[in-house]
Symmetry: C2
Amino acid sequence: MKECRGATQKDVANAAGVSTASVSRVLNGVGPVKPEIRARIERAILALDYAPHEGARALVTRRSLVLGAIIPTLNNAIFAEGINAFEAEARARGYTLMLSVSNYDLNEEQTLVRRMVQRGVDGLLLVGNQHAAETFATLRRAAVTHVCAWAFEEDGPAPNVGFRNAEAMAEIVDLLVGLGHRRFAMLAGVQAGNDRARGRVSGVQSRLAFHGLRLQPDMLAECPYTVRAAREAFQRLMGGAAVGRPTALVCGNDVIAIGALLEARRLGIAVPGALSVTGFDNLAVAAEMDPPITTVDVPAEQMGRGAALALIEAIGAGRAVKSTLMPTRLLVRGTTAGIAPGACRGCPCPCSG
Amino acid sequence: MKECRGATQKDVANAAGVSTASVSRVLNGVGPVKPEIRARIERAILALDYAPHEGARALVTRRSLVLGAIIPTLNNAIFAEGINAFEAEARARGYTLMLSVSNYDLNEEQTLVRRMVQRGVDGLLLVGNQHAAETFATLRRAAVTHVCAWAFEEDGPAPNVGFRNAEAMAEIVDLLVGLGHRRFAMLAGVQAGNDRARGRVSGVQSRLAFHGLRLQPDMLAECPYTVRAAREAFQRLMGGAAVGRPTALVCGNDVIAIGALLEARRLGIAVPGALSVTGFDNLAVAAEMDPPITTVDVPAEQMGRGAALALIEAIGAGRAVKSTLMPTRLLVRGTTAGIAPGACRGCPCPCSG
DNA sequence: GTGAAAGCGCTAACAG
DNA sequence: CTGTTAGCGCTTTCAC
């Protein structure tokens, strides 16, 4: 099971009666080769079913044609979608994907980055801008081209291909305030080690402040990105007496929003009648819920493809990745409604209805 | 950006005043090394922040510590979950995941397999038992340890870690027949190049036959695994007059079932009152729908972990993977109901109510 | 115990 | 145009 690892370049050279150098040349389509010799070599390659050993090639060219990606989890459709696109673009350009999952653990991520670097990836995709200092140090020392997706900062610690989480959330807040909402609650993702989740929370808070409003301390809860956890968190947050209950619930992502929506129905809280709910990500299911969920479309596929492309271009040019800001889009659907149309007058916001 | 690829083993040897052979020995914890020398080397490693080049190591040891996986898509939660588990198990055992997506295209898959082999994966995971002949030939010639998941055949073309799709579907049919259903329809996945989808269809057909029933030709449709496509297919299949309409709809997976459920609601077809609907996979959302979807629990995580483990053990032992049959479980929930309790009498089936 | 040397499969100068 | 040579960074006999 270990012997017959296929024909080697030398075998081809022998079979064709030429030197390995010539074989290498036709393989890489570089340098001049007489047509007749080329044909002989190509025949030998076919006959022996020869395939070059990419590992050996990488050792000498210092290019593995492998792109690494380390993501928090695959069990969130938004990352699965992004990686699907990242892989598609990489594959189309001759690169192969090496993938690891960090489970939102920055220390684990750090060891994974080391591992990827040792394995010789040409470029690396990370999610978000918050990473262990050692992670950045490793990347810098090894001079590995890298990019952080899912976030965008003008002067972040690494090149970005992503969007501004806080700004996208501000749009949600504007929508809700414009609809007349004044009492807010938020079901955020776990913020520790997750700058995207944190950015969304601070986006809500600062935009509420802009409107002269605020999130009461007990109206901000966080929970993991699962429907089950979201249902429980919703119950704790909203299960009390109806009086004084918030009229708008901003969720950290669509998974949480789905949980909130389902639990609201179970508890007899009408959405959007008694409570407006918003999500984030625009998962395919969000549009299919009843009512369809108002959310922010996140360009996961575009980011995936864009990040792969940006990495490949940077690798080719021998420079760092160029940052790109990707657009998000507010999708107003059925889970948001006004409580007092045109009520937004006292605050200095640009939304007048 | 290409120069400072970290310290090399020779650097460490020089710094410690020993030979590279000794460095290699302490690195691999093999062979005898005097404690004092070992300490000197370890200090040098730390000082230089040396990390061995896995590619070079792989070249000589013929072991890359990389496991490959080629799946149809990541945009289906069931595969994402399986790969998540596969990666977790591999990572825990020192292996790294190389992932490619075939988009249900057997030819594309074939070239991806070649690529993975060239990249030197130690083991490879494929989904299902249907693959291009060339795919198996490549695997055999290169003697790459491999396993096919998501399916199980006694004498399939490759070792399996999975379950019997047809049998799982038979359980669904038994349930529905037992509930009194006689007029069936099926919304299957695309069968071309997908033996799992095909197995599910034939499972339904042969089990219906066992009960003396059959799927009318116009009551079998197939559609891609998306909610949108499922809604449209459902409409075409069930949109006609209510008279003669089937009372039970078996769906190829949960995504299709979700589409069917949502579209049924839109069309005013009560589920399960007027129509029983079943899914397959037991996605997390399936349990959260209203009503929660009756489905088959597929051991995606268990398969993922099991496949990784089976590969690693086989690689270590230098033999082929041992097949494992994983259990599925029928989950009866809210989308199925009886139309005539105890109606199942005429047929020779074991279900008497 | 340790070092010297050969070589994994390939590419890249450099001669010819 | 083509072959010879020298490694890429590592492991692994085999002498010492």
